[in-house]
């Protein structure tokens, strides 16, 4: 009889443990107690961030995106929601990036001389060798996924136009960090309220970037490490051999094939083109360009439909066109091909577009 009670109690304990385990698993991991660190002045911290040497590390980056961007099939990581990526770097320009996309995966490996881009969904490798006259390899996409590099650029570009302060400490990916806050000065006409950057207390490397806009308490964009191990990484990670059955192409060939599929390339190329026109400085910088008339008419009908779906028609003294709003940026495309974009309210764009040549 007594033994039966013991058995029952043990079985009940098992059930309760299982149920508790389920609820523990369902709970988001707590942020933990903020660590106590010696005080540091904002100026010193910014200086240290900008001069910190890139170190070798491997880690997992979580992106929480509430920017309100439309989902584009080519870059699913931009769509709203949570995404994760794994990144390894040796600190000397070699890089491996793994972007899971559902059950598929994109892998980008930069071994110092060649950038390999693998997409498991098409079983295809794009190989682009770095050209000698182009010392800086095109790793634009990789850099935006790496919070450390991205944050460093943000700090460098905006420090003159911001009030900078250190607002306590935080624990990010199990490392102690200072919270560096960049608030645009009152004279800046921008959508962004503040950018919070968690800076590793030891390496002075940014671990997390949160962007907050006017009128929201939750960050609209959050990029940060959820896991990081600093130190030399396995050198095999920075090598890539295409799988035996994969197609290997070059970016030129791929562009040729995909040109009519990617209408947004036109706008993107125009904005990043040879001579984009820059208006203003700091947070309310506006980038302007003019899309050649022939490119405007070349846009296929279905792409036009997509553009129409995400934009609204506007007109004013400057002319008429379409405006595309997200929480952190606004893009204005005039019907005559002028394009302006910036992290600013639409009124700033209306005022600026007249200056586009």
């Amino acid at each position: 009889m007594n033994k039966r009670k013991v058995t029952l109690a043990a079985a009940a304990a098992g059930v309760i443990t299982g149920a508790t385990g389920l609820s523990l698993l369902a709970m988001p991991a707590g942020a933990g107690q903020p660590p106590s660190l010696p005080d540091v002045s904002a100026e010193t911290l910014v200086e240290q961030v900008l001069t910190s040497k890139p170190s070798a590390f491997g880690g997992t980056v979580e992106v929480d995106n509430k920017l309100g961007l439309p989902s584009i099939a080519e870059i699913p990581q931009l769509a709203d929601g949570k995404h994760s990526a794994r990144i390894w770097t040796d600190g000397n320009g070699k890089l491996r990036l793994a972007l899971p996309n559902g059950q598929s995966e994109q892998t980008i490996v930069d071994d110092g001389t060649t950038t390999w881009s693998w997409n498991s969904a098409d079983n295809e490798v794009t190989k682009s060798e770095h050209k000698a006259d182009e010392p800086k390899p095109d790793t634009g996409k990789a850099e935006t996924m790496d919070p450390a590099t991205a944050a460093k650029q943000v700090v460098g570009l905006t420090k003159e136009f911001s009030d900078i302060s250190v607002d306590g400490t935080a624990r990010v990916a199990n490392r102690a960090a200072y919270e560096l806050v960049l608030t645009p000065k009152a004279s800046e006409k921008t959508l962004i309220r503040e950018v919070r950057i968690a800076v590793d207390s030891e390496l002075k490397m940014p671990l997390r970037v949160a962007v907050l806009t006017n009128g929201t308490s939750e960050p609209v964009g959050l990029v940060g490490f959820s896991e990081i191990n600093v130190g030399p990484q396995d050198s095999k990670l920075f090598e890539f051999t295409p799988p035996a059955n994969a197609k290997v192409t070059t970016p030129e060939a791929k562009e040729e094939k995909g040109r009519d599929r990617m209408p947004e390339m036109g706008i993107e190329q125009a904005l990043q083109g040879k001579d984009p026109q820059i208006f203003g400085t700091g947070w309310d910088t506006v980038v302007g360009a003019r899309i050649p008339a022939e490119a405007m008419t070349q846009v296929p009908a279905e792409a036009q439909g997509m553009v129409d779906r995400f934009t609204k028609k506007v007109s004013g003294a400057w002319g008429s066109g379409k405006i595309f709003n997200t929480k952190v940026a606004t893009v204005l495309i005039a019907d005559d091909g002028r394009v302006v974009a910036g992290a600013v309210p639409e009124q700033v764009l209306f005022d600026t577009i007249g200056q586009v040549k």
């Binding site: 079985a11 794994r86 793994a98």
Partner: protein, 267 residues
């Protein structure tokens, strides 16, 4: 003593014709998949997940097969074994004999759970082995290409398959343990199978609604897709660990409820 009971339980399960027919049906799955992809040829490429890289990559077939089967086929098989274990014996009147025998009822439950585990491992391993053979025969193989674009040596590939066998078996046993709890409460084996399958299907449907995302971490089926991480290189352990812990919670709950029911059951 208990090892002898374990042995006789497995022998008893293996002697049933429906077990053998079931196992035979399971090993047809990788053969049909390999054959299908082989006949589809080059135009069969593309698609999400593993389907895109399976062409000419025979070592992926066992993982692809198990990953697909985990959604419906393997839970069904686990529920059949769990149903036979207690409800089936109750229906035949043989459970009564086992309950009055001078053997602890908890031990009886562990014997049933062991039988379920051994048979699940056997079924999953059989599918994987046949998958390796059929995949290599139909699609050829030169190491194992992963979702990350790296190519593993055959040895490393076999290790990945071994790891996947263990992970899938654990998921299957956890589902079976919950089915055993149902099995201990009824005399009708069909009730057990129906309850298990309905639960798995309903869980998968609930998993499709993003408005119910607060519920998703509780559903065992939420853990299934994450197991594909075995095919990434290097393996990210986060999702695999979460899926296994989730299944472990179900195993504890199922075993505990079955034990409570068996101990309080009138013989």
């Amino acid at each position: 003593m208990i090892t002898r009971q374990f042995g006789s339980e497995v022998r008893w399960m293996l002697r049933r014709p429906r077990t053998l027919i079931g196992l035979f049906g399971l090993i047809l799955v990788p053969i049909i998949i390999s054959f299908g992809i082989w006949t589809a040829g080059d135009d069969g490429g593309g698609g999400p997940g593993l389907a895109a890289i399976i062409e000419g990559n025979g070592m992926v077939v066992p993982i692809f097969t198990l990953f697909l089967s985990l959604n419906l086929l393997l839970p069904l098989v686990a529920s059949i074994w769990a149903a036979d274990g207690l409800a089936g014996e109750a229906q035949h009147g043989t459970l009564r004999g086992l309950l009055v025998a001078p053997v602890s009822r908890v031990r009886l439950l562990f014997v049933k759970l062991f039988g379920l585990t051994a048979m699940s491992l056997l079924a999953v391993t059989l599918m994987a082995v046949v998958g390796i053979i059929a995949g290599t025969a139909f699609l050829g193989s030169d190491g194992m290409a992963t979702l990350s674009g790296t190519t593993l040596s055959t040895g490393e590939g076999l290790l990945r398959i071994g790891l996947f066998i263990l992970l899938v078996t654990f998921q299957m046993v956890s589902i079976g343990a919950v089915a055993l709890a149902v099995s201990s409460a009824t005399e009708h084996p069909l009730v057990v199978q129906a309850a298990t399958m309905v639960t798995i299907i309903v869980f998968q449907v609930l998993g499709q609604f993003s408005s119910l995302d607060w519920l998703h971490p509780f559903l065992i089926t939420t853990g299934f897709p994450g197991l594909i991480d075995v095919m990434r290189d290097p393996i990210p352990l986060g999702q695999i660990g979460d899926s296994t812990l989730l299944a472990g919670c179900y195993l504890l709950i199922g075993t505990g409820l079955a034990a409570i029911r068996l101990v309080t059951k009138d013989s």
